[in-house]
Symmetry: C2
Subunit: 453 residues, 2 copies
């Protein structure tokens, strides 16, 4: 046994604070704007929708935020997660690079989403909130918030995009096992849902529609708040526990990453693994590269525009300064549901603008090819989302081989694919295709944005 | 944070040896018999079917067997597994009992089956075997052997019971992702498969049929051996790594179990967690209780008979001295596929006969009720098989509460249920029933056994 395969931490070594990168940025992100007044959004304007503790985190400029004991207590169900040396993958690629991955797939729902679900339910609970609402597409976020709400004694309504509700019945069963109330969206339980049903008879729904329903319910029902699984600053903050742990573990391994990679939907897992290491670039003189791996079919960072845009497709949310394909952009029906989002979070967008991070796009077939290679080499079948990070890591490892360099690569395995095997089936059956978004489609959608803010 | 939630070991603390309980038994198990001669089976008679290294382990009386480095190396993908304090479940039950579980669900395939799949593939590999064959019902064993064979460069043919092949497509996809060749059984790729198809047109298959096909292929194809996922001594041996780890972890926790519990199909996970602790009863004066939790619909230990019987339904295997419901017994269509087996391994049967272990039966509805309670309290959705162990642990914890005793309970969580959510769906829909096997059905099947040996 030449190398240590897994670096595990005891629960006493679990980080006690989340890291807020805003504190260390020279160029702070631009403010969110109120969609009506176009003035910077005030914290109190968000408190009808989100719990106060979360709104406070959304606006804070503190560098480190204490993780409450009750949250750490529940994190311990699956955290600290292992840092794994991908020795099987290294061998398969015959690369001199050292490849490490943070294994977030060991959580009970199989992904990193619990890292924010737990504190979100907690801050709602301590405020006396009784109900939460949310939307879910692929189902990872809905499952995570379901466990968290059950633990803290909150009711949860999940609006699940109808096409997923019908095609992914097992995700629904997971949420129901945890006691959540799951409805197909658009539903007849909200005003906007009924309106959407009437306007689009037989619609299979969309994440935008589901967000609108969850938001309406949170705004109109007493003692109710909404929860979002990515994009917002407080979500990113919670996810930094991934990188904080990984830093301790890389130190034990005796290595430091030259490249850090995460797949990219709204930013939660990419930022989670990256920001604690990025701090060492900002204040410690390191020169680590950070690569966000997004699907070629939804290339907001590589081909989108930095503009103020809505977070949802209906235009209900505040305006966010972000790299975006436009809120009207309809991502192709690719098999990485968690990456089908038109925009990026505000912090990560600012970092991209300031060239503090990079992005790369990955074709669908390349992502599954990487996923199968990884599964056979490391045993774990990755989530279709995570295969994008693996594909990018493989590219870097092969480049290191060409250059004969012993580069250290770290990527985040955001989740396993055991509930997404239908996607692998379609890949093996040759039914999946690559898809490059036509330039004119992007141009058309982003052109509408200039007059928004 | 009052108690330590998870006891984790570093990979250097992973046990270096498997434990063979036969060495410590006063009453050794009776020998397997050749089905033709009715004489004790000789090792060389098994070597056409199983790799030599495994046959040697099947017959050994050595107390501890070294785990080869290559096997430990691969174990490290997921081992050591955590020992978890079920503090959420304790709270939900309001019991003074301390409940621990060994979390074998963290393996890439979601169950303990890899513990034997890896050494089985290894011993085949070092013998120069090129192909393996096996059968799978629920798919856990087939998935595990698929990863292991891929790693050691062996081809694998999995004969999957046709009804599972059709109803559990995702299990099939998992095996294919790992590179295995999966066919629905009965198939037209074997003599016996074609014969079965002709004799039972439109049959949905059975584990017995699938075993027959896998055995035929192993016996007739060059450089090919067969692998079995439970029952046999060498499989049980490999699974003792569960209990060996758990002993180290319980010591760190500062507790020793009063009761050890595992669900029971052929015995692999129950024996795996139990035997290392049972040794302390046999040679160390401890008085721990060991409870095998079997489904009421397949009650071999609680209501079966100790007799020589075949391991398969077709009567192709050696005769094994076992607690059995008779090889003609057809288990009801319950949702814990891994527990639908008519007999128990020979060692565990001898222990049962000598009252060194106990057994309890669990009704299907009680098992799912326990599974949902556990999922909500601990976050992990258990496999339908594992819910039987949980139900038995809950009974013991509630008894402790009645008696006001601070009992220490340890059970094995053999796997998670994320690929078995269809079973939970049917439970929530009220479609599942309890089923007690009629006494006359058992009597009829075991009556046939007396003349076998």
């Amino acid at each position: 046994m030449k190398v240590t395969k897994k670096i595990v931490l005891s629960e006493n070594d679990m980080p006690k604070q989340w890291y807020n990168i805003v504190a260390d940025l020279t160029n702070k992100p631009m403010p969110m704007l109120h969609p009506g007044t176009k003035q910077p959004l005030k914290p109190e304007e968000m408190e009808g929708l989100f719990a106060k503790g979360l709104v406070e985190q959304e606006f804070t400029t503190e560098r480190y935020i204490d993780i409450p004991d009750e949250v750490r207590d529940l994190y311990r169900i699956y955290r600290p997660t292992p840092l794994v040396r991908a020795s099987g993958l290294e061998k398969a690629l015959d690369t001199p690079a050292k490849i490490y991955f943070k294994n977030e797939s060991v959580s009970p729902v199989g992904s990193h989403k619990l890292n924010s679900a737990i504190p979100q339910a907690y801050y709602n609970k301590i405020q006396g909130i009784k109900h939460m609402t949310t939307e879910t597409g692929a189902g990872q976020w809905g499952s995570a918030l379901s466990i968290a709400c059950k633990h803290f004694g909150l009711d949860l309504d999940v609006f699940m995009v109808k096409v997923s509700y019908d095609q992914k019945p097992y995700r629904k069963s997971v949420m129901r096992t945890y006691g959540a109330n799951v409805v197909a969206s658009p539903s007849n339980t909200t005003e906007v849902g009924r309106r959407l049903q009437a306007a689009h008879p037989g619609t299979s729904g969309s994440l935008g529609m589901a967000i609108s329903e969850a938001v309406e319910k949170a705004m109109t029902q007493p003692d109710t708040r909404y929860g979002l699984g990515s994009v917002l600053n407080h979500v990113i903050l919670h996810q930094t526990i991934i990188g904080e742990e990984a830093k301790k573990q890389m130190e034990i391994a005796g290595d430091y990453p030259d490249v850090v990679i995460g797949c990219f939907g709204g930013g939660s897992n990419f930022c989670g693994i990256s920001f604690p290491f990025l701090r060492d670039n900002l204040v410690g003189g390191k020169q680590t590269r950070f690569i966000a791996a997004e699907p070629a079919s939804c290339p907001k960072l590589t081909r989108g525009k930095f503009e103020y845009d809505f977070g949802d497709t209906e235009g209900f949310t505040p305006l966010l300064p972000m790299f975006t394909l436009g809120h009207d952009f309809e991502p192709a029906d690719i098999h990485a549901g968690g990456l089908r989002y038109h925009g990026a979070g505000t912090i990560v967008s600012q970092l991209m603008k300031d060239k503090l991070i990079e992005a790369t796009d990955v074709e669908q077939l390349e992502s599954f090819e990487a996923g199968v290679l990884f599964a056979q080499a490391e045993g774990i079948i990755p989530a279709p989302e995570s295969t994008h990070a693996i594909a990018a890591a493989i590219k870097e490892a092969l480049k290191a081989k060409e250059e004969g360099k012993e580069k250290v690569i770290l990527f985040n395995l955001s989740g396993h694919g055991l509930i997404d095997m239908a996607s692998y089936d379609r890949y093996f059956a040759g039914e999946l295709k690559n898809y490059q978004v036509p330039e004119e489609e992007i141009a058309k959608n982003v052109a509408k944005l200039e007059k928004l803010a």
